[in-house]
Amino acid sequence: MNIEDLEKEKNEGIENLPLQERRKFLQMGLAVTGVFLGGSVLSLTSVSHASDLNTDPDMDIPADDQYPYPIHYGMVMRQNRCIDCERCVEACKQTNHVPDGHGAYRTAIQERRTTENGSEKREFRPVLCNHCNRPPCVRVCPTKATYKDPDTGIVVMDYKKCIGCKTCMAACPYNARYFNHEKYAIDKCNFCIDTRLAEGKKETACAAACPARVRIFGDLKDKSTEIYRLLHTPDTKIWVLRPDTGALPNVFYMNA
């Protein structure tokens, strides 16, 4: 269309545009400027070959076949709901036989106190293994004792192969690994793959135990899951921890 002809047209205004179109237009603009993160962060972090140089808004939502695993498990943390009751920590400990002492835990709740408008604010943040798509721990392991489960994308351990060099602990951006002195190998969260998912349960122990429904676990590819809905809710700010490391984590944070 000729730009000069366009200039002669009368301005239609936006009042007659369908709501759907207006929302789409707004989202596109905000995604380009980086303000709108709903959906964008997901695509940047959960597809192993996604490039963080991708600024084309049409490319932001990955097609289902772009997910590298048949079932692609992830977790959303609705951070502002967490009250630090630590039932998740206890449930994980019981379910996965996490030993006492020596820094052993698979999941934890972090706390931060800040001052906002003169009053103290306490924030709680649940953390666990991020089951990254580009997991530094998996790359550095000399014996493939830790690897991505080919069916679910979960980062799992094969304890008998672990030599205890602790390189995976040094490599993890999330302090998610510990030396399990009972197994005499490195241990970590595995989304309860052996203790719950193998029994047909749909949730991890921590997610099931959370009274505030902070932790939403599920298949990122499955459009019927709550995690899919949450991650694709427009105008929701979603973030991941330490995105600068390029690990492409599958644990997402939001306030909802």
């Binding site: 052993a104 706390e111 014996t143 493939k144 030599i163 490599a171 951006p173």
Partner: protein
């Protein structure tokens, strides 16, 4: 192959005049240090590595890893200088290169002894490194290449002792290549971890290689001077020239290493992640600052440089002392590097975490370090005793 019996070979290589009561006492002393020191590491297998060593979830690597790196780096340096002298000539170090090959083997043994008791399950390593190798793992490549290097060097040394010059030369080259690649992978172990900004980056593997050239030259000077001290003899002119060459190399690399250290630290203050800058603070003004300014910089770089200038590369005792100080500085530099990479909490700002974690090596970790020094000192004395004549011969090719 030679038809000489082993006893005939040893009769030709041994230095029986070193079998003095004093030497015997020193050798037995270092053997005891080795056994006692490494016994501390054996305790880890009985009571648990998590109990015996002071490493934590947040700081999984400590002084044993840094000391392993120190010996491995020194071994690489010795091996490279020896191979360059053998292959290219050109330096005066040819005449002392047999001793350097031996000490390179001994230093890597010190490294293996240290890491052998650091790794929680080395028996699994022996099996799964072979049947389940991970080609993307720097640790796997490093272990495999150091293993190959020591194999090559042992055959090379056997060639030297038995007079098979060609075998020695070829294996020496392969050994040196394996050592350089292994050293590079050792640097890569740290350099390829984006989670640790203080380590992450392309400079570190080159930095490790520079450190190898520095430690290798320092060790060359020190061990050669000591070899003549224990004989109570003055160095021959040719050996003196060899040591002087090592002194020149050490001076040059001291400059390179200082420049590399300077820019490495500056880079953290001009931008980049906060974790890297805070880690650099640990050295500049934080818990590692005495280590850094007093030991790494003054003892390990400035004083040796002054001593080298004062010695005019003639006074070998002064040069040997400079070499010793360089090695002390390098030992602490490896410690600071390993610790600084982990000392800043990854989740700084949460859980009221301090800016720096606290890590003090346990008494058992110090014990293992002593054991590693024992291995190297015992190996040095035994080498002089059993192969002393080989070390003072003219070059074998």
């Amino acid at each position: 192959m030679t038809n000489k019996s082993l006893s005939a070979i040893f009769a030709e290589t041994a230095e029986p005049r070193l079998a003095t009561p004093g030497m015997n006492r020193a050798t037995i002393f270092f053997l005891i240090v080795t056994v006692a020191g490494l016994s501390c590491g054996v305790l880890a297998f009985i009571f648990g590595h998590h109990v015996i060593y002071n490493n934590t979830r947040e700081m999984p690597w400590g002084m044993l890893i840094s000391t392993y790196a120190f010996w491995a780096i020194t071994s690489t340096g010795l091996c490279i200088y020896a191979a360059m002298s053998h292959v290219f000539g050109g330096t005066r170090m040819g005449i002392i290169s047999n001793r350097m090959v031996w000490m390179s083997i001994i230093c890597i043994m010190g490294a293996f002894a240290t890491i052998g008791v650091e790794i929680a399950s080395p028996h699994r390593m022996l099996i799964y490194n072979i049947i389940s190798p991970n080609p993307t793992s720097n640790i796997w490549w490093m272990g495999t290449l150091y293993g190959m290097a020591v194999g090559c060097m042992i055959i090379e040394f056997a060639g030297i002792v038995t007079g098979l010059a060609r075998v020695a030369l070829i294996l020496g080259v392969f050994g040196a290549i394996a050592e350089v690649l292994a050293n590079s992978c050792l640097g890569g172990v740290f350099a390829t971890l984006p989670a640790r900004p203080y380590w992450y980056g392309a400079q570190l593997p080159i930095y490790f290689l520079t450190a190898a050239f520095l430690s290798g030259a320092a060790a060359t000077i020190l061990f050669n001077v000591l070899a003549y001290k224990i004989r109570g003899e003055k160095m021959s002119h040719a050996v003196h020239l060899g040591v002087k060459s090592a002194g020149k190399a050490m001076t040059l690399v001291l400059i390179l290493y200082t420049v590399a250290t300077f820019w490495r630290l500056v880079s953290f203050y001009v931008g980049g992640p906060e974790l890297g800058r805070t880690a650099a603070d640990a050295l500049i003004s934080g818990p590692l600052s005495i280590n850094f300014w007093v030991v790494e910089v003054c003892v390990g770089l400035v004083i040796p440089m002054m001593l080298i200038i004062l010695s005019r590369l003639e006074n070998v005792n002064m040069m040997a002392f400079a070499g010793f100080l360089v090695l002390v500085g390098q030992f602490v530099a490896r410690y600071d590097l390993v610790v600084a990479g982990q000392i800043v909490p990854e989740f700084l700002g949460w859980d009221e975490l301090p800016s720096f974690f606290s890590y003090v090596p346990s008494i058992f970790e110090f014990g293992v370090i002593a054991g590693g020094i024992g291995v190297v000192a015992f190996g040095f004395l035994m080498g002089e005793r059993v192969f002393g004549k080989t070390f003072t011969q003219k070059e074998h090719h």
